[in-house]
């Protein structure tokens, strides 16, 4: 796991405009003009965001001079998903352990009081 890469990715994601741009690119390639459309922002301002995303490897930009379509690159986000995965598994495993304890306790209480009266309390 590349720590520097993760740092850059998180920094790039820490902005709602950039996240919205990535969301748009999930639907396919787009030009700078198309990406700028939903925002009350100048084209140079949008370009600044695109530079950050490009530097972090989250997007690539085509070479066709006039159009330079932007494309979403999956790899850095996959690294984030991998990083999160361990924590997700930790959470799920903790849930699992205590889920089984729940089952055990329910069964133990049922055994203790088959006729509805509580046993030794």
């Amino acid at each position: 796991m590349d720590e520097d890469r993760l740092n850059e990715t998180f920094a790039a994601l820490a902005d709602p405009t950039r996240r919205a741009i990535l969301g748009r690119l999930m639907g396919g390639e787009a030009t700078v003009t198309q990406l700028a459309e939903p925002f009350a922002m100048t084209l140079p301002a949008v370009s600044k965001h695109l530079k950050v995303l490009e530097k972090a490897g989250l997007i690539t930009r085509g070479r066709e001079a006039q159009w330079r379509p932007c494309r979403l690159e999956a790899d850095p986000l996959r690294q984030v998903a991998d990083w999160l995965d361990g924590y997700r598994r930790f959470w799920e495993r903790s849930q699992e352990r205590f889920g089984r304890l729940d089952d055990y306790l329910r069964e133990a209480q049922r055994k203790e009081a088959p006729d509805g009266h509580t046993g030794d309390r």
């Binding site: 361990g86 889920g99 304890l101 309390r121």
Partner: protein, 156 residues
């Protein structure tokens, strides 16, 4: 419907789990300290636990072996420091697949509103050990995640 909470403050040596159970305290305490009880719930869904030893008293030993459906075996052991029914157990914990990384676990039980509230605090020997446990997803069985944990810990 579980109220499980996991707290692991950055840069600290501790993971704290809290959860409540729909059972009286002495029953929950027994679930943690009676060998037959432990064997029936401890471990992960896809594995069976053998309670090789369990002496829930100061100086008592414990050892559990989890076996999964792939024939994988994962053993854990430690020593009890304290066991005060029905409120507290304190023991060391080591995974035999990664010897030398020992944690101290303190589990307390409080009864409130007919429910038992458990607080499970694990204190590790280093922040790296603590972070490694979180990042590995507690899957001490999977060789793959152990490799990752090795790498992580090796980085210091």
């Amino acid at each position: 419907m579980s109220d499980l909470k996991v707290v692991a403050d950055p840069g600290t040596h501790e993971i704290v789990l809290t959860r409540s159970f729909d059972a009286p305290r002495d029953q929950v305490f027994k679930a943690f300290t009676d060998p037959d009880a432990v064997a029936s719930w401890w471990g992960f869904r896809d594995s069976k636990t053998e309670v090789a030893e369990l002496e829930a008293r100061p100086g008592g030993r414990w050892r559990f072996v989890g076996r999964d459906s792939n024939g994988g075996e994962h053993a854990f052991h430690g020593v009890y420091h304290d066991a005060v029914a029905p409120e507290r157990i304190v023991y060391t914990f080591e995974y035999e697949g990664m010897p030398g990384h020992v944690l101290l676990e303190t589990i307390t039980f409080e009864e409130r509103d007919g429910r038992t509230h458990m607080t499970d605090s694990s204190v590790f020997q280093s922040v790296a050990d603590r972070d490694g446990m979180l990042a590995s997803g507690m899957e001490s069985g999977a060789a793959e995640s152990m490799d990752q944990l090795d790498d992580y810990l090796a980085k210091g």
